[in-house]
């Protein structure tokens, strides 16, 4: 039996654990404030908050309930818009009303939830951060300017927080209902009960991480599948430094990457690259291992970690083995992995002072979109000479790939416009893009050339741009 807190009430359900939270909320609990827009995590109308204890901390994150299996909710606090409602309007709701930031209203509860998620996070109270919180919410009516204005008001609400714990602060200031202040002990009590994920199902299970890809691809069958939920397994979470290595648990999320102190120390830019990956709620749910096994030819994390020469630890529960990410893909959506194996960890060598790293992605829409082409560039540079190079590219072949010719050519050479152009030309010989909804072959070829140039223009601003571009 699955147990969690839904708004201010403990609930339990015997529904299949593969059922999505959205259906449970709307059709079992009859909480109709959570809306259905797309069922693929692309509109945010079904956004809810999920709170969980991580150590002593109660941490809330926004999830798209359409992609959240009930199996990932054991012992957590699920909050829908009904759970934010007070007698009058709460200040978040008031801000939206005051700025006329709701028109047809269908997307509005999702925006309210995302902004509530911002209030419950420890993010700095800036307008930018408030706007970033709704980066996964689509509105077709307002044109967003009124929503920006409302978000600014919400940021203003938090100005006096001064390091106070968000749940306490929002409850005290009546930004959210009082009961938020008492959730922590209730979750502790729930945690003492048996966990769901102890049981390993018979046969070959469907591994489920964050569900953000599976529930899009296999929406119709997921409910009935025998699932093994990996998302909450403590051994699969966390990002740590072990000597010169960064070790990432397979179920670490994109948000975990963005918030990792290890990554922040060694790759100050990494966070900004991750802003190009999907949206806040999807980053909160999507796991690193999930991005790898989904085997999209254009997975953003895959492209980044390919260039970083990441290593995978695969385990079938009994035996573990190690493999380079660059050897993981055999063909389109074909992995060097048995059905029983899952990725338990990923590690890579942390960079030193000579290392430079850049990620480029162009999609139709800059945010919350799948790339037309993406690329990462990992260079070691010493006295103006490249001593090691690793260029990766997505969207230019059936698998996410390294560009060995273009990369190898650079090694041992001094940075110049000429060698970059030669590397660009070599890259063209080792890609095979196809025309599809994300762009024509002609475009993808041109775009990859431009992105390689963009890597160098970003990493070496002293280069002659005109020479490189014409």
């Amino acid at each position: 039996m699955l147990k969690f807190i839904l708004n201010n009430q403990e609930v339990s359900t015997t529904l299949p654990t593969g059922t999505v939270l959205l259906d449970y909320i709307r059709y079992d609990q009859h909480l109709k404030g959570t809306k259905i827009g797309c069922r693929e995590g692309d509109c945010g109308a079904c956004t809810v908050l999920v709170g969980e204890l991580t150590g002593a901390q109660l941490r809330y994150r926004s999830f798209t309930s359409c992609l959240t299996p009930l199996g990932n909710l054991q012992g957590k606090h699920v909050v829908t818009v009904e759970g934010l409602n007070q007698k009058g309007l709460n200040p978040i709701q008031q801000a939206i009303v005051d700025e006329s930031a709701t028109q047809c209203g269908f997307c509005t509860p999702g925006f309210v939830m995302s902004l509530a998620g911002f209030c419950l996070s420890e993010k700095e109270a800036t307008c930018q951060n408030a706007v970033a919180a709704v980066d996964g919410n689509i509105c077709r009516c307002t044109g967003y300017k009124s929503i920006e204005r409302a978000a600014a008001r919400v940021a203003h609400l938090l100005e006096e927080r001064n390091g106070e714990e968000p749940t306490t602060f929002v409850a005290q200031r009546q930004i959210l209902p009082d009961y938020f202040a008492g959730i922590k002990p209730r979750l502790r009590a729930l945690a003492a009960e048996a966990r769901l994920n102890g049981r390993v199902p018979d046969g070959v299970p469907q591994f489920v991480g964050g569900g953000t890809d599976l529930y899009v691809q296999k929406h119709e069958t997921m409910r009935e599948l025998t699932a093994q939920f990996l998302f909450d397994q403590p051994s699969l979470r966390g990002i740590t430094r072990e000597g010169n290595r960064c070790v990432i648990g397979g179920a670490a999320t994109v948000t975990d990457l963005a918030e990792s102190t290890v990554l922040r120390e060694f790759f100050p830019e990494f966070r900004s690259f991750l802003r190009l990956v999907s949206s806040t709620p999807i980053r909160n749910m999507a796991t690193v291992a999930g991005n790898f096994v989904n085997a999209s030819p254009i997975g953003d994390l895959t492209i980044m970690f390919l260039a970083l020469n990441a290593q995978l630890v695969l385990s079938d529960g009994e035996m573990a083995r190690q493999m380079a990410l660059r050897e993981f893909y055999q063909g389109y959506k074909q992995l060097v992995k048995t059905p029983q194996e899952s990725i338990t960890a990923i590690w890579f060598e942390l960079p030193d002072a000579h290392t430079k790293f850049n990620f480029e992605k162009v999609s139709k829409r800059t945010h919350l979109d799948i790339a037309s082409v993406n690329s990462a560039c990992h260079l070691t540079v010493s006295d103006g000479f490249i001593t090691a190079a690793s260029l990766s590219a997505g969207g230019v072949g059936p698998t996410p790939r390294l560009l060995p010719k273009a990369s190898t050519y650079l090694v041992g050479r001094e940075i110049s416009e000429e060698i970059i152009l030669e590397s660009v030309a070599l890259a063209q010989l080792e890609i095979a893009p196809i025309s599809d909804a994300r762009g024509t072959e002609t475009y993808k070829r041109l775009l990859l050339s431009q992105l390689i140039k963009a890597h160098f223009l970003t990493l070496f601003p002293q280069l002659n741009a005109t020479k490189l571009l014409r």
């Binding site: 709307r26 009859h30 109709k32 404030g33 809306k35 259905i36 827009g37 797309c38 069922r39 693929e40 692309d42 509109c43 829908t80 009904e82 409602n85 978040i92 709701q93 009303v97 006329s100 709701t102 028109q103 047809c104 209203g105 269908f106 997307c107 509005t108 509860p109 309210v112 709704v134 980066d135 919410n137 689509i138 509105c139 077709r140 009516c141 044109g143 967003y144 300017k145 899009v216 119709e220 480029e360 139709k364 829409r365 800059t366 945010h367 979109d369 037309s372 196809i434 025309s435 599809d436 909804a437 762009g439 024509t440 002609t442 475009y443 041109l446 775009l447 431009q450 741009a465 571009l469």
Partner: protein, 768 residues
């Protein structure tokens, strides 16, 4: 005044169709749709689906007791395919089961043997093969054939705009509940309750009085739920009527995107001629409208394209011909602007092309040729123009000279980024161009406690029309708006409604509300005159008080209402409004089809990343002709939303059909609409102050569609930025200007010349 729905919206308490509590015994429908765009149905295999758990019945065209027909303007669209399928996504069968899940599972078990027939996706190909929905129409002014020889500059070209998915966040849906005596109550998410009612009655073969359509509100419409809401209403009605059980169908996003029509793609040829002083002397244009597989609203949309041929400009010699071309796409339909934006894009492309060839800024030609009051449109109406006023105010208010210098300086000092600036003047006609539709009704009840309930034919879909209706009633009665409540839009209360469309909903319904309230006020004043023993002319209702010669009396609103009731005076009124002055003769293609025009000017500055081909919009600065806005916050929201939707159409929203006529951008992950980061950094809106009278409700001009066309300015701002990087760029006039087209415009592949990327984009995706 805030939108009256705001509070329930933010609390998640507003009711949309899928939120209506289910009646016990409700069944769920799901459509089996054609997997091919054109073909002959040889065999339909339903047996396996029938065996699925929960399946109650599967309806096909054979089960239709009335007419298998949902075509509004032309009866050319069956509800369920009979022998032929005409587009990918055309409903063939309707499964009804005990759960939504069971219905969809059963749909997946249905098979159809369909002999494929040739597929047309390109309107020009359809035109060449004589596949037209209606005969072509031509609007003419002056004698363009004679004018060319007087032109110093003549330029020809073509321009293309792709379609646009409405992407209302609430998908299409309907819920039919049987009543006694074979009647049905149908909840629908429709902009056009009467059209839904009529369609259901037609398909069932029953009179309209047997069907009630009731609309609470829509989670977005934008034209997509005008005629296109009817099919789901008819399917649920059919099943509910024959099974005697409530039947509900809520389309999932993929179904919605595959099955419903969109904004019409257009491909057009233009020829423009100017004299040496840059006056446009002549303009000829041929519009090829991609109508899709059935008429839907295409003929009316084609007509509006013709009405907006010359956009905001006066051109003395014009010939515009439009062809509504039948292809095998889902029937394309109404979408904010209704064919107008497509015409305006061609006009602006023609001006831009001349300007580029002459090496001058397009705004010089634009400004020179703006229409003036008294100028004749090609359809005979004389302009009452605010075009110059809006343009001049925008120029001075936003310091255009400074802006232009900033852009030039920026471009001179930046290699990797370039900026472009553009002007976009708009002039948009308000009224249904089908004159008979310019009528509306309202029903107003004053209860004897003084509270008021208002019903109209207007459908609330986020545009704030109910708020405006409530304001009208509160203003005429001079009572606190809290005393007034709006009713849902029901065909039982308001009959024979026009759709909530054409930007005219607030005007038409608002005037009807005004008339109804005035009639009640008139009767109340009579009662007050009797009570106060004074002449009616001395009585005034103000702030819930009854004034006599301007002085307060013992009577207030509530007492007066009670007194009237006790005197057996009617406190209810049903009023009818028909727009005066509008008429149009389709034989001569001349008349006065619009109550008035809305004007405005937008200045857009955009930035292109010349390494990556990505872009952003710095600012859209607008002077808009509101008349006198009755609700500035709602109207501002309409303008901001319209601009962003227009920018989406012009930049990133790309419909991709493959050669087999299948939509490839059929999900939100492949069809991208603007998110919060893709909107202009700044949208400035300023009102043009005018005091001229107009036919708008309370002089507050319609605001739904016009601002959409400001978005066209973004295309031209981006184009100018691309040309700043590569003056020789052979960029075609082909929207949307996606990052792909921008990059290929910055770095044109050698040897391709001015390729029309849109034509290739329609067919480029491999058929797999």
């Amino acid at each position: 005044m805030k939108n009256i729905d705001s509070s329930t919206h933010v609390k998640g308490q507003s009711l949309y169709l899928d939120d209506i509590p289910l009646v016990a015994g409700t069944l769920f429908g799901a459509a089996f749709i054609s997997p091919v765009a054109h073909g002959h149905i040889e065999q339909l295999y339903l047996a396996e689906a029938m065996q699925q758990p929960g399946v109650v019945r599967i309806f096909t065209h054979k089960d239709i007791t009335g007419e298998n027909q949902i075509g509004g303007i032309i009866p050319d669209e069956p509800l369920l395919a009979e022998h032929e399928v005409d587009f990918c996504g055309m409903p063939i069968a309707f499964v009804v089961a005990t759960s939504d899940h069971a219905a969809r599972a059963a749909v997946r078990k249905i098979k159809a043997a369909i002999e494929p027939l040739p597929v047309i996706t390109d309107p020009r190909v359809a035109h060449a093969q004589g596949e037209l929905i209606v005969p072509p129409r031509t609007f003419k002014l002056g004698a363009p054939e004679l004018a060319w020889e007087h032109c110093e500059y003549v330029v020809e070209g073509s321009a293309d705009t792709n379609g646009q998915e409405h992407l209302y966040i609430e998908t299409q849906c309907a819920y039919a509940i049987p009543q006694e005596n074979g009647e049905l109550k149908i909840y629908s998410s429709t902009q056009s309750p009467t059209a839904s009612q009529r369609t259901a009655a037609r398909v069932l073969g029953v009179p309209m009085h047997q069907v009630e359509v009731d609309v609470i509100r829509l989670g977005g419409g934008f034209g997509g739920k005008e005629d296109q809401a009817n099919a789901w209403v008819a399917l649920c009605a059919l099943a509910a009527y024959h099974l005697g059980k409530p039947v509900k169908y809520v389309l999932d996003r993929l179904e919605d995107m595959q099955m419903t029509g969109k904004r019409h793609p257009y491909s057009s040829d233009f020829k423009i001629g100017l004299d040496k002083d840059l006056n446009i002397l002549a303009y000829e244009v041929d519009f090829y409208q991609n109508a899709g597989a059935a008429a839907d609203l295409s003929p009316a949309i084609m007509e509006r394209t013709l009405f907006h041929t010359t956009s905001t400009y006066f051109i003395p010699n014009v010939r515009a011909t439009a062809y509504s071309c039948r292809t095998h796409l889902p029937p394309n339909t109404a979408f904010r602007g209704f064919g107008g934006p497509q015409a305006k894009f061609v006009m602006e492309s023609a001006i831009a092309k001349v300007a580029e060839e002459l090496g001058i800024d397009a705004c010089v030609i634009q400004k020179k040729n703006l229409n003036k009051t008294g100028d004749e449109f090609p359809f005979g109406q004389k302009a009452v123009s605010e075009a110059h006023a809006c343009w001049h105010k925008a120029e001075s208010l936003y310091n255009v000279e400074t802006l232009r210098q900033e852009v030039q300086r920026f471009n001179a000092s930046n290699t990797l980024l370039k900026k472009g600036l553009s002007f976009m003047p708009i002039c948009f006609g308000i009224s249904f161009t089908n004159t008979s539709m310019n009528q509306a009704r309202a029903l107003v009840h004053v209860y004897y406690d003084g509270s008021v309930k208002v019903s109209t034919g207007a459908v609330e879909m986020g545009q704030g029309v109910n708020t405006k209706m409530l304001q009208v009633a509160a203003q005429v009665f001079s009572i606190n708006p809290a005393k007034v409540r709006m009713q849902t839009t029901s065909t039982n209360r308001i009959a024979n409604t026009s759709p909530s469309a054409a930007s005219a909903t607030a005007d038409l319904n608002g005037k009807a509300v005004q008339l109804a309230c005035l009639a009640i006020v008139e009767r109340l004043k009579q009662v007050a005159a009797q009570e106060l023993q004074a002449p009616e002319t001395a009585i005034e209702l103000k702030n819930e008080q009854v004034l006599l010669h301007g002085e307060e009396t013992a009577l207030d609103w509530k007492k007066l209402v009670t007194a009237a009731f006790l005197k057996r005076v009617s406190l209810s009124e049903h009023a009818h409004y028909a727009t005066p002055e509008v008429h149009f003769d389709k034989k001569t293609e001349k008349g006065h089809p619009f109550a008035y025009h809305v004007y405005g000017t937008a200045i857009t500055v955009a930035t292109v990343d010349c390494v990556r081909g990505t872009y952003s919009v710095d600012a859209v600065k607008v002077v808009h002709d509101f008349g006198a806005s009755m609700n500035p916050t709602i109207d501002r929201g309409q303008i901001e939303g319209g601009i962003v939707q227009g920018i989406g159409w012009m930049t990133l929203e790309e419909l991709l059909y493959d050669q087999a006529g299948r939509l490839r951008s059929n999900t939100l992950s492949t069809y991208k609409i603007p998110d919060i980061y893709s909107v202009p950094q700044e949208i400035a809106i300023d009102a043009l102050d005018t005091d001229t009278d107009n036919l708008a409700i309370l002089r507050s001009k319609a605001v739904g569609e016009p601002p959409f066309m400001y978005g066209i300015g973004t295309y031209f701002a981006l184009r100018n930025a691309i040309k700043a990087f590569n003056p020789a760029s052979p960029l075609a006039f082909d929207a949307p200007l996606t990052p792909e087209k921008v990059l290929l415009g910055l770095y044109p592949p050698t040897g391709t010349g001015a390729t029309n990327l849109h034509e290739t984009s329609l067919s480029r995706v491999a058929t797999s």
